[in-house]
């Protein structure tokens, strides 16, 4: 199993292929499944992602608690006039749409977690659409994302309770950044720089769910995570490099997570969860 971003990049470079190609081949060897089986499974996961994104932009979906709802739909309607441009706005809209479906007890794919489930689909669906990519090409890019997520899980954490929101939305954003670079035809090395830049952008981010629920601030952070992934990919493909290599950023993220107080790690005892409004909402539920 590939355990570092550097190893991932080098093995793709050596073969002169995309990261996803290496990942799928190795995973087939590791699990005993065929590449076709793996692709088919990823394809079925992609279909769930797409359906959730479509549902959440087509209608205002309310959460079970009633605290949030409709963010995906609202942003989708405003995407045409968005200052950030329609790609970022649509990616953000889809990210929130998936997150809205999640908070309504709808069907989603944890990527890597349910709290961060909108970032990857929001990014790859929107970039894929803009670049006219086929669904199969987008599914391919998910293997790259998954490999990045696994390296983060192996060397740091993808659990908010252990590492804070940087471990969930940060990992998702890094995964999406690598997938977007690959979709857009960037190099494996550029994908690694995009991973580093996306993760650096949220270093130290607290996990502070209001009333303990995966809604506030999670839904909006999914939008930000998608926007950051796309910008990190653009930066990397513009030739900007992360001074600190991705693997070192991942280790730093782990250390920052370790240093963070437990109050800031999914306990609803710090950050936005203990603001006057946060506490009020908590009492109402």
């Amino acid at each position: 199993m590939i355990r570092s971003i550097e190893e991932l990049v080098k093995s793709a470079e050596k073969r002169g292929c995309k990261i996803s190609t290496v990942v799928r081949e190795l995973e087939a060897k590791y699990t005993g499944s065929t590449e076709e089986e793996l692709f088919k499974k990823m394809r079925s996961y992609f279909d769930v992602m797409k359906e959730a994104a479509n549902r959440g932009v087509a209608a205002e979906i309310r959460s079970i608690s009633g605290i949030t709802g409709g963010e995906g739909r609202k942003m989708w309607n405003a995407a045409g006039s968005a200052l950030a441009g329609s790609t970022v706005a649509k990616a953000a809209a889809r990210a929130m749409a998936v997150s809205n479906v999640n908070a309504s007890m709808g069907k989603i794919v944890a990527a890597p977690t349910a709290g961060s489930c909108g970032i990857l689909p929001g990014s790859v669906l929107t970039v894929g659409e803009k670049l006219g990519k086929s669904d199969d090409e987008i599914v391919d890019s998910l293997f790259t994302a998954a490999a990045v997520g696994r390296i983060i899980a192996l060397n740091a954490t993808i659990a908010g309770a252990e590492g804070g929101c940087q471990a969930e939305c940060g990992a998702a954003s890094a995964m999406a950044a690598a997938a977007v670079v690959e979709l857009a035809g960037g190099s494996p090395r550029q994908a690694a720089h995009a991973v580093a830049m996306a993760l650096k952008a949220v270093m130290g981010l607290v996990c502070d769910p209001v009333a303990g629920l995966v809604e506030v601030p999670c839904i909006k952070r999914n939008a930000m995570g998608a926007a950051q992934a796309i910008l990190a990919a653009d930066m990397a493909m513009a030739g900007i490099e992360s001074v600190i290599p991705a693997d070192e950023v991942i280790t730093a993220m782990k250390e920052v997570g370790r240093m963070m107080s437990d109050r800031l790690k999914e306990t609803a005892m710090g950050g936005l969860a203990v603001t006057p409004t946060g506490k009020n909402l908590s009492e109402k539920i």
Binding site: M105, A146, A159, P209, V214
Partner: protein, 219 residues
């Protein structure tokens, strides 16, 4: 770690630990009972007790007991489904307990012929761990094909089971034996790499002094 542990599981939101993990805990408790549960008392602890309602943890635990998968749309309406299936349940919040994992549940289950008590916790990303069965301390995830035996604590039983597996070409990934008192009842958990062969349950059940065999297959 499988790639689909990172992208995946496909699940009903909103929380992989509080919803998907809770469904899987219910699934495991149901499998350990080994028949349709008729009565269930579920005690939830710590974070499960505090933020469970908003995350649908209560609905998810019941859905799991009914055998629904973590991506089953009926999780949202599991209380009604329980009514239809004749499952009488009670959900109780336990006292805060720092010695327990933050997301812990204890199931006290009754089926038509059996009773069991299963404790487990949701450890993140939808993954779970079973920590006790009928008062025996255990530690397994249900991610591998798992064999659980309840047997008399005497020499030779463990060897007979493992020999049988070895003869069939099965590699044991992890194994643990526990007992409450020497010479009385013991419990053995074996996790294997490969899917288990047909008929393994019957073969192992025929071994003298094995009272009960449970086979738990990964979801």
């Amino acid at each position: 770690m499988n790639l689909f542990d990172i992208i995946g599981p496909v699940m009903i939101g909103p929380s992989s630990s509080h919803t998907a993990g809770a469904v899987r805990l219910g699934n495991m408790a149901r499998n350990i009972l080994g028949e349709e549960p008729r009565r269930a008392r579920i005690v939830v602890y710590n974070s499960f007790a505090k933020t469970g309602r908003g995350h649908g943890t209560d609905k998810a635990l019941i859905a799991g007991l009914l055998g629904f998968a973590p991506d089953d749309e009926r999780i949202r309406t599991s209380f009604e489904e329980a009514g239809k299936r004749g499952l009488v349940y009670e959900l109780v919040a336990g006292e805060d307990d720092d010695s327990l994992h933050p997301n812990t549940a204890l199931f006290v289950l009754e089926g038509n012929t059996r009773k069991t008590e299963v404790a487990g916790c949701s450890i993140g990303g939808g993954r779970v761990k079973i920590t006790a069965i009928d008062g025996f301390e255990v530690d397994f995830s249900g991610e591998y094909p798992t064999i659980i035996t309840v047997h008399r604590d005497r020499p030779g039983i463990v060897a007979r089971v493992t020999t049988h597996l070895a003869e069939k070409g099965f590699n044991i990934a992890q194994m643990r034996v526990s007992r409450k008192t020497k010479g009385e009842q013991a419990l053995m958990i074996i996790e294997t790499d490969e899917p288990l062969p047909e008929g393994i349950k019957e073969v192992l059940e025929s071994i003298e002094d094995i009272y009960r065999i449970l086979i738990i297959l990964p979801a």
